[in-house]
Amino acid sequence: MFDDLDPKEFEETAAAVVDACASADDAKARGALLGEAGLIGVTAPEDAGGLGLPLDFAVPVLSAAGAGLLGFPLIEAVLLAKALAPVDADLAGRIASGETLATVAWQGRAEDGLVAAAPLGQEADHVLILRADGSAVLAQTGNAVTARAVPALDVDAPESAFDISGDLTGPVLDAASVATLQREAQVLRTAFVAGSSDRCLTLAADYAQDRSQFGKILAANQVIRHRLSRDKLAVSTMRNGLKRALKADVEDADLAIEATWLGTARAGISVAESAIQVFGGMGFTWEVPLHRHLRQMRAQSAYGAVAQATEGLGDRLIAARTNEWYGEIEHVV
């Protein structure tokens, strides 16, 4: 049914809409533009106002969002428009159209009375709150769930925390759907960071071919060229890894997705840091947008719990016995 559609086509649409969003007044206005273009509901089922496309169609959309410093919680909205459809198709449809702004509090549990790391939480109508049993509630913001400003690194979609007082009401996602949502979040974040770091690389490569010192352009120096080559390798690694992880016949999809996300999160940050170095003093200014890329990628790393997940992967690795060729080695631990 998708034979005539190509994720690549979404790239251009997405880039154009993200461009248009730059001059929109606020997150709500951006939501309307994104919703109208079908970008929020890209993977949501058609009967809930979505396009019903597979996950790889969301990749160019989030990539464009990362590149364009979109001030909108698009990762969260895309995930919720899809996950909520079977539970509350009406609300899912309003999220997909951009009419309702929904976000996710990636840190903390309802039982703590405080959840955090919710991008654009201050402006959100709904927030998904995780619970200790693995399920989650999409609560309306306001009475029992109030946003609290917190110091935020990301300046384009600043995060907030939420105080919870009283019982949570709203549609519930069971533990299995939350697990799927978390897994798909890794895919979307990878795409977002790939787009963001790719933009940093382009900015740095352009600058290095424009700025001259010692009578020649910066890019005439091999140290600069090699730095940019390494950054190019990093960005290609993200894209190729993600493409493989989303293939139907991939060996171990969960591992491929998680590994690609964890590798991308670290590499993306280092590409942004590298670009700042290439810009010299200019790179340290507020005006040059590299710091905004760095900030949003750092924020994604925190939302995606990269440090903890890497340790978790390490724990699973050292306990595993996955290769039968070494099965004869005694196992005492």
């Binding site: 020649k216 590994a259 992967l313 690795l317 005694e330």
Partner: protein, 397 residues
Amino acid sequence: MTHVDPKTEGATPAAGSYAAKTRAWIQANLTDELRTDRCLDPGATLQQKIDFEAAQHIGGLTGIMWPKDYGGHGLTVREHLEANREIGLSPMPNAVNSIGKELAGPIIMAVGREDQKRDLLPKILKMEHIWCQGFSEPGAGSDLAGLRTRAEKTADGWKVNGQKIWTSGASKSQRCLLLARSGKPEDRHKGLMLFAVPMDSPGIDVREITSIDGARSFCEVFFNDVIVDDANMLGSPDEGWAAATRVLSIERATNRMYRSWRFQSEIDHLVMGCQSDNRTYKILRGYRRELAQCRIDVELLKGHVEALVDDLLDGKEIGPRGSFPKLFWSEAHQRFAQMAYEIVSRFPADSNQALRDLKARMEHIYLTGRAETIYAGTTEIQLDIIAKRILKLKKAA
């Protein structure tokens, strides 16, 4: 005690698949002497390794994509990939004749005459001809186009004079894939020719060089008025360089396709070895983050390999993108080797046999791994290629 757990069984390939066939073959034929995770003294002899490799061809593990007319199995890159996954996961030794199978063979297939293909290709797979690669010279390493070995036209063929160096396996080879020039050194890329030179030709002198791991594999090869028949010229004069670079770019994508799984298998060995003693398991725990990073790299490497396979299947040019997997793999694998070396260097003196074997293997991987960022185009050369041909960075305003 043999420990079987569900995860191990989960990794078993589907019955009847090419992968399952490959795994069964390896299980039946990989002897303890040949296994790289057992450090037997003496280990397998060169002849045993050659016989093992010839048997692999009969067993369907090599020559998978080569046409049947030339001794191959006439299958697709899919079967090649499936078999290589199994080869990589196992502790099989590296091929003695990888230059023959991964470099000379594809070049002959691309530019050779029909009679050359029928003659030379099956001999590679049957291990009748082990090949070496005579490209690098003392004065022409990264700057290969600066090579000086001359091929002069004579009445009955070509007369070759010059010196090659770092020629892996030259002392055990029957044929050399020789890159020489027919014109002047100033011609650089022009006038470079490829030959299939019999290593027993009069005037060839081979001297082994001891490498940092103590092995005597790579060599200096001297050519002193060596006569090479016209019949042993590969492709037309002038075509040598173009053919070599074209083939090399494809080869960077497809050769040693088992590499990501071999890397994975080395991690598996490190982990499962350390599980054999509480003390080494404790050491391993201290490296869980670095270990996770290595496993992440393996997954990312598979992404690079598959991207190129997809492009090949779509008939797209690989060109400079072959640099991505080479660069990524060599550096990631060196990081793993450094970590593994550090871990095994902390093993207690009274370690069990499994740990002693593991230590020896990881030390060997660490030392030989230093070459990975040097051969097949150094890291610096790969970075130059990406800057110039992929990023297309200018050097002047």
